[in-house]
């Protein structure tokens, strides 16, 4: 793959052990115990029938399945450990192979801080287009989540308008979490087949992937399950995301919440494998802790950061790629809290090599899109990208010749060795390193620079257009769904 345009973390030099082998084994066994005894809710006729056909104990009235450990473990064996997320531009394909961390935008927001007026307002289709275009231009964003909801489009086909808008405004891979019913899922598959050039080509090069939420604790949403089965059948990479939260949808303890979420994800992943062995699947997670005083969704804090590191250990255990929530923050504007939560969550998820990170750009618990936040998140990712390269120690980097030439005293500014290596040092775009007086005079900061950068991109960047014929086809498919 070409690293010309996309920045992914690979060949890491940093390591972190957040769970030992024995601890992972314990979580795994507890997970299987839960699936066998308490069971998992699958409120979809189709899903329940698949479970029954494979020998699970199915309670049709309560829609709960209980499965023996062997059934789950055997089913998981057919998960492909590696595959590619294809992009409209093949140069921007992303390998999910355990050695690449790819950043995506966050998704499904409901409001936008307008790029011109800076006022907060309801999100619309044009926002989906604009954000896709800005993301297309950055090196850091490797793939898209549909960033905000196109609330000016009809609800029956909203998810389709959204993926069309992203495809038309970017050549990168598209992942959606906004398609969670049969009609839209079928239409999305059809659209992806047209873009990929046929059913077989789509299997080869899935230009879309789909994420569904689980319904914690220990349940799923019927529409999401049916949509996931349709995607898996077509060879579209499909993931289930647990958002279980300590105190409310998960136990107060971190291990308990990890295990509850694991049971949800693993059971649904097994279902997809039972239905379509070998279908590309991924593990997805954004566990958190509810605020103990109010129950509010926090999207940040030390528990989140630990979950961020622990989940990839689990997905590695199951040998499937992971999409990990990161950059989540409860901050209401790009500020100290946003920087803190974005940095630590993304560092912890990256240092364990989570395959996909979701995602940059959001404020207020995944609700408000901010272009400034997006650009600053990208810079945080770049800093972590740099840190993950660690410290290289060899003859050249030890710089003995330069050290001898300078001797005690003096400086390294005039050394060839310095010139050869100085561009390896990180050049920030948004860190304020100016003299105090300059800052005082200008009165601006990172947020202004970040916003200006986004404005400039939006004005200047024109991604390779999508073939108009394909757009027309998309329109026809969407119209049909709207008429239903």
């Amino acid at each position: 793959m070409s690293h010309k345009t996309i920045k992914t973390i690979s060949d890491p030099k940093l390591k972190l052990e957040v769970l030992t082998k024995e601890e992972v084994q314990k979580i795994h066994e507890a997970t299987l115990h839960i699936i066998q005894t308490t069971g998992i809710r699958f409120p979809s006729k189709r899903a329940l029938e698949i479970w029954e056909a494979h020998g699970a104990d199915v309670n049709y009235e309560k829609k709960i399945i209980r499965a023996k450990p062997q059934l789950i473990e055997d089913a998981l064996k057919t998960c492909p450990p590696k595959y590619v997320l294809a992009a409209r531009d093949p140069q921007q394909d992303l390998p999910l192979d355990g050695n690449h961390v790819c950043l995506g935008t966050d998704g499904c927001g409901v409001e936008v801080i307008d790029i011109e007026t800076k006022e907060k307002r309801t999100s619309v289709l044009q926002d989906v287009r604009d954000i896709a275009r800005v993301a297309d231009a950055t090196n850091e964003v490797a793939f898209h989540w549909v960033p905000v909801s196109a609330q000016d489009t009809p609800t029956e086909a909203r998810g389709l308008h959204e993926i069309k808008a992203v495809w038309e405004n970017s050549t990168k891979h598209v992942q959606t979490e906004s398609i969670y019913n049969v009609h839209e899922a079928k239409a999305a598959v059809e659209m992806a087949e047209i873009l990929a050039g046929g059913k077989d080509n789509l299997r080869e090069r899935p230009v879309i992937s789909m994420m569904q939420c689980t319904a914690p604790p220990l349940g799923h949403d019927g529409g999401s399950l049916d949509a996931a089965l349709i995607a898996a059948e077509a060879g579209i990479p499909t993931g289930f995301m647990t958002m279980s939260a300590c105190l409310t949808t998960g136990p107060a303890t971190l291990a308990g919440t990890l295990t509850v979420g694991n049971a949800e994800v693993i059971a649904a992943t097994a279902l997809l494998q039972l239905a379509y062995p070998g279908a590309p699947v991924f593990y997805a997670a954004a566990q958190t802790s509810s605020d103990p005083r109010t129950g509010a969704y926090t999207g940040g804090g030390p528990e989140d950061f630990l979950f961020g590191a622990a989940t990839n250990v689990l997905s590695d255990f199951y040998n499937i790629p992971l999409s990990m929530g990161s950059f989540a923050t409860g901050a209401k504007e790009p500020n100290w809290q946003a920087g803190l939560e974005g940095s630590l969550s993304t560092f912890m998820a990256s240092v364990v090599m989570s395959d996909m990170l979701l995602g940059c750009g959001f404020l207020h618990g995944s609700r408000i899109w901010s272009y400034a936040e997006m650009m600053m998140d990208c810079e945080i990712f770049s800093i972590i990208h740099k840190m993950m390269q660690g410290i290289v120690v060899d003859e050249e980097t030890l710089a003995l010749d330069a050290i001898a030439a300078v001797g005690p005293g003096g400086h390294y500014l005039a050394q060839k060795h310095t010139r050869n290596h100085m561009r390896e040092l990180f050049m920030p775009q948004f860190l304020d390193r100016r003299p105090y007086t300059q800052w005082e005079e200008k009165g601006d900061d990172a947020r202004d620079w970040a916003l200006n950068k986004a404005r400039k991109i939006l004005k200047e960047h024109q991604p390779d257009p999508l073939d108009e014929k394909i757009s027309k086809e998309f329109e026809r498919i969407i119209k049909l769904v709207e008429k239903k």
């Binding site: 609330q151 609800t155 105190l247 949808t249 605020d291 103990p292 005083r293 109010t294 129950g295 609700r367």
Partner: protein, 221 residues
């Protein structure tokens, strides 16, 4: 008040503060055996505990699970006393009856449940229908129990329109303004609430209680 009685009321309050349903039920039974008027057991005993936890929660001292457990212990105690109340033809005075639900197509539960917990803790009689509830279920329940408020939660931009549908249906059936409607959830704004002609909106559970009190004309209670 006899010393024995005073101790019993104190124990009742404490059982709610501890969130211990077993003990609150035991004490409720004991009060029946002792021929204590059930309304006294509630207002002089159990409610004191609920109020205490509510205050502590408001101060940020008590955590949410404590509030929920207090609510459960209270519910269990009242359920034990209910048959006695019925025999006496008495009714516990509540702030009003509320039907609460997350709208059809939407399975987000936590926010709605929290609102229900806080309303119960503040003296409302709450019927929580759960998630993914169609209009006819919500409206049917409201009519059935003679609710004064219908509360609807919606967390998705695709399901918030259901709130409007329920309101329109209620208007068609001439149920408003007798039954008030309040709405909430992540994408819900004051503008949206006004647009769909809801009677009120709140961004959180504490605000929902204040709103509900205003809607039933007990704003200063």
């Amino acid at each position: 008040m006899s010393e024995e009685l005073e101790t019993l009321f104190k124990q009742m309050a404490q059982s709610i503060i501890d969130g211990d349903s077993d003990i609150s039920v035991e004490l409720a039974q004991k009060s029946i055996e002792m021929n204590i008027p059930p309304l006294d057991a509630i207002t002089k005993g159990f409610v004191v505990g609920v109020n205490y936890i509510g205050d502590q929660f408001g101060l940020g001292e008590a955590f949410l699970p404590e509030l929920v457990m207090a609510g459960e212990a209270m519910k269990a105690a009242v359920a034990t006393l209910e048959p006695e109340l019925l025999k006496l033809g008495e009714a516990r005075e509540t702030m009003g009856k509320v039907v609460l639900a997350t709208v059809e197509g939407d399975i987000h539960e936590i926010g709605k449940t929290l609102v229900g917990t806080m309303l119960s803790a503040s003296g409302f009689e709450v019927t929580d229908l759960g998630v993914d509830q169609p209009a006819d279920k919500i409206i049917g329940k409201a009519i059935e129990i003679g609710a004064s408020i219908v509360g609807m939660s919606a967390l998705l931009t695709t399901t918030m329109v259901r709130q409007r549908e329920v309101i329109e249906e209620m208007d068609k059936e001439g149920l408003r303004p007798k039954i008030k409607v309040m709405v909430g959830g992540a994408p819900i704004t004051r503008e949206w609430a006004t647009k769909i002609k809801a009677d009120g909106y709140s961004e959180d559970a504490v605000g929902a209680v204040k709103l509900a009190k205003d809607l039933v004309g007990k704003g200063d209670a």
